[in-house]
Structure formats: C-alpha cells, structure tokens
C-alpha cells in the first residue's frame, strides 16, 4: 500500500482562452479533453495518464485541489480509515467525480488545502509510445514540459499563536500517507520551528512542498525539463511570448533543481524545474537549512530573496 505519485493539480483561471494558450502553446502541454463546464484537461508529452492539469474557469485565481495516485484500489479503504482515525474528515467520491478516474477520497490538509487520492485514471499513453520509443517527440510545442513534477503550497504559520500548519501537514502526510521529509528549514530563536518542508513519495527530492504565509494559498506548480539547456531555451520562449517571469534561470540550494519561475495569465505561478537533484531513497537523512541560509537554499546563486517570490501567491 502506498501513495505512488502526484496525479494532477486543478487550477482556477480567470480567462480560459489566455490560459489555454499559455499551458498548450508556451508550456507545451497537450490538451486531452474539454468538458461542458469549460474545464480543460492537459498532460505533458511524457505522461501516460489522461491529464495532470485541470484548468477551471473561475472568478478567483488559485488552486482548487491537488491529487495523488495510490497503488491499489483497496488502498483507498485503508487510507480512508487512517485519515479518519487521525481526526480528518474524509469524503468518498464515486467513480467519475474526478473526471476519468475511479472512486477517490477527498479531504483537507491541516493547512486547509484540498487533497484527493485516486487509484485509477484513464491511460492514454506517452507521445513517444511504449515500443522502441524516440527520446522525445518532434511535434512538442513551446518549452515542451515533460510532466507535472510537484506543487508548492502556502500554509498558515503564526508561531505566537502556536499555529504551524507546515509542521501539521508534515506530521499528517508522514504518519498517514507515507510521505517522507527530504528537506526542511528550521527558524526561530531556538531553531525549532519547521517553516519550510519538502516531502516525497517517489525517489525525487520533492512531490509536494510547503512554505509559510499568513493565509493558505497556492505558490506554484512545477513542470519537469531535462537540463540546464532546456531551462535557457524555456526562458527564451517565455520572453518571445512576453510571459511574466518572476525569477530568471538559476539554481535552488534546496533540491539542487535548476529553475525559472513565471506566471500564467491568471497570476498562478508556474515553474520549469530541471535536474533530478539527488536520489531520495527512504533511508536518506533529512537535510536541514538554517534560518540565515534560507535565501541561499531558495536561490543558490544570489543568496537573496526576491520579494515577489516570497510575498506573491494566489
């Protein structure tokens, strides 16, 4: 029984035509479906499930929910019990409630974000197929994102009132769903406040991450590229298309990833993330960043925080 990967993120967008152009032609995701309510379903060329991104028309930007895939259908019953016993209410969703998925669970993280678990989603296959595949498809658009890599969520932290939903999320996901902490930042006079946390269910440095803020929100959805050359080309393509970039190509200390941060036309932040960083097997000791070195953990080269990066989210 295990949670095996990030499944999808459902983002709310203010202008669907502009959002479609961004995710399809600039990020290079493939549109696989569109429903009567105006939701758009997309996947990366290297993904096999039908979608990893749902765009929903809305008057408010931000994230509707994030979903992870479990190994077996029966895991959903076990996880429902575990989550309820932990004290979190679980809603059982019938098959099809999450489009093209089997039955699913829906619940709120301690930070207030909505998470779903599913075991089955329609498989449509990678663009390069499964037999004697080419290393990449010729008809990929834009920056050609391979897959949805991870999401970063903004979680309420108010130490003076003993509120730390980052630590609460880490406890819950570790104890109930088998997520493993890979990196953390500890702050405060006694360096005992877990203010930043990165967790994985695979062998990559993170499948979800949490940073602090006054209110719960969505910081970014990250899409995988192979390497530094792809990151540079991605920045060129974004500049050609006048995409608002937040952070120019650089490297993270945390995860060692190579990165660009930018915004979709509704202000939801995206990242292109390259490099697999390191192999995060279950026996890897947790990496800790101290309060003074958090800026270098986030932007390794400059060692300086960028106010838009730390204060702006949807």
């Amino acid at each position: 029984m295990s949670v095996i990967k990030i499944g999808h993120v459902n983002l709310r967008v203010l202008d669907m035509a502009a959002a479609r152009n961004h995710y399809e032609n600039i990020l290079g995701l493939i549109v696989t479906d569109e429903d009567s309510e105006g939701n758009l379903y997309l996947k990366g060329w290297d993904e096999w499930e039908k979608y990893s991104v749902i765009l929903s028309p809305s008057e408010q930007a931000g994230m509707d929910h994030i979903a992870y895939k479990v190994e077996n259908d029966s895991d959903l019953d076990s996880y429902a019990n575990t989550i309820q016993n932990y004290g979190i209410e679980v809603e059982n969703l019938d098959a099809g409630t999450l489009v093209d998925c089997g039955r699913a669970l829906r619940f709120k993280l301690p930070s207030g974000h909505i998470m779903c678990l599913y075991a089955d989603k329609t498989v449509v296959g990678k663009s390069v197929g499964n037999v004697n595949p080419a290393p990449w498809p010729l008809d990929v658009k834009g920056v050609g994102a391979h897959w949805l890599d991870h999401c970063l969520l903004v979680c309420p932290l108010d130490p003076e009132n003993q509120v730390n939903t980052i630590a609460d999320n880490v406890n819950f996901l570790s104890q109930c769903l088998g997520f493993r902490l890979t990196e953390q930042a500890l702050v405060g006079p006694d360096a005992d406040i877990q203010a930043v946390a990165f967790l994985t269910v695979t062998n990559t440095p993170h499948d979800i991450a949490f940073v602090p803020g006054p209110t719960a929100g969505f910081h970014h959805a990250s899409f995988f590229l192979s390497g530094w050359g792809d990151i540079l080309k991605a920045a060129d393509i974004m500049a050609m298309n006048k995409v608002k970039m937040d952070v120019m190509p650089t490297r993270h200390g945390i995860t060692r990833g190579e990165t660009i941060y930018f915004f979709d036309p509704s202000g939801n932040r995206n990242e292109t993330f390259a490099g697999l960083g390191y192999l995060a097997t279950p026996d890897m000791p947790v990496i800790t960043w101290t309060e003074e070195e958090i800026p270098r953990g986030i932007f390794y080269h400059s060692g300086e925080l960028n106010t838009a990066f730390t204060e702006v989210y949807t």
């Binding site: 008057e59 930007a61 940073v211 202000g267 702006v312």
Partner: protein, 117 residues
C-alpha cells in the same frame, strides 16, 4: 480606431509619491511603470491573480479600462469605486492614482526570515 489613438501614450501619476510615467493604451499600468524603471506600485503576477498591485484610481471611470481581476482581491463594490489591480488597467486618458495599503502578505520577510519580537 484612428492611428493616433493606437499610438497614444498617457501621463500616469502616482499622487502620493509624485511619480509620473507615460503608458500606452495597449500596455497595463504596472508594465508601463516597470518597463521605464519606475517604482511605486508593488509588482507581482501581472495577471490579476495575486492582488499585490492594488491601486485606487482618482481620475474617473473614463480614464481607463480593465480586464478580469480575481474576486479574491477586488470585490464588485471596490471595482465600482475605482479600486483595481494595476496589472489589469489599461489607460484611455491621463490617470492619477494612489497605491492602496502596503504589502501586507509576507511569507518570509526581509533579512529576518520570520519576525519574533
């Protein structure tokens, strides 16, 4: 539309700080300010989603048009009063404005990563 309208640039003034810059009608106020290296309005997502560039327009409803802004940050009532997001405002005439409040939402603030007093 006449050619002179397409090429029109308007004077945008941030009243409280006495900053003035020129902005074309197809350019939103935040991009107009940033592209000239001017400062005053906080810059965030440039997509009407994050709410950080909230301003109040003092020059009247006829001086600008807007695109969709997230209702998380601008209510219908505010929009009617000229409280808008600078990244979704395009000028149709000269504009006078003020920045609404300061950046209140901090994830990690300044040199001190988290403030304990």
């Amino acid at each position: 539309m006449r050619e002179e309208d397409i090429n029109s640039k308007y004077n945008i003034t941030i009243v409280d700080t006495d900053v003035t810059f020129k902005c074309a009608r197809e350019t939103h106020l935040l991009e107009g300010m940033r592209s000239l290296g001017q400062k005053g309005i906080p810059s965030g997502c440039h997509g009407g989603g994050c709410g950080i560039c909230k301003i109040k327009i003092l020059s009247g409803r006829k001086s600008y048009i807007t695109k969709t802004m997230s209702r998380t940050h601008i209510s219908e009532e505010e929009e009617k009063k000229g409280i808008v997001l600078a990244c979704r405002v395009f000028p149709k005439g000269d504009i006078q404005l003020n920045v609404v409040g300061k950046i209140k939402r901090k994830i990690l603030s300044g040199q001190k990563i988290w403030n304990y007093s």
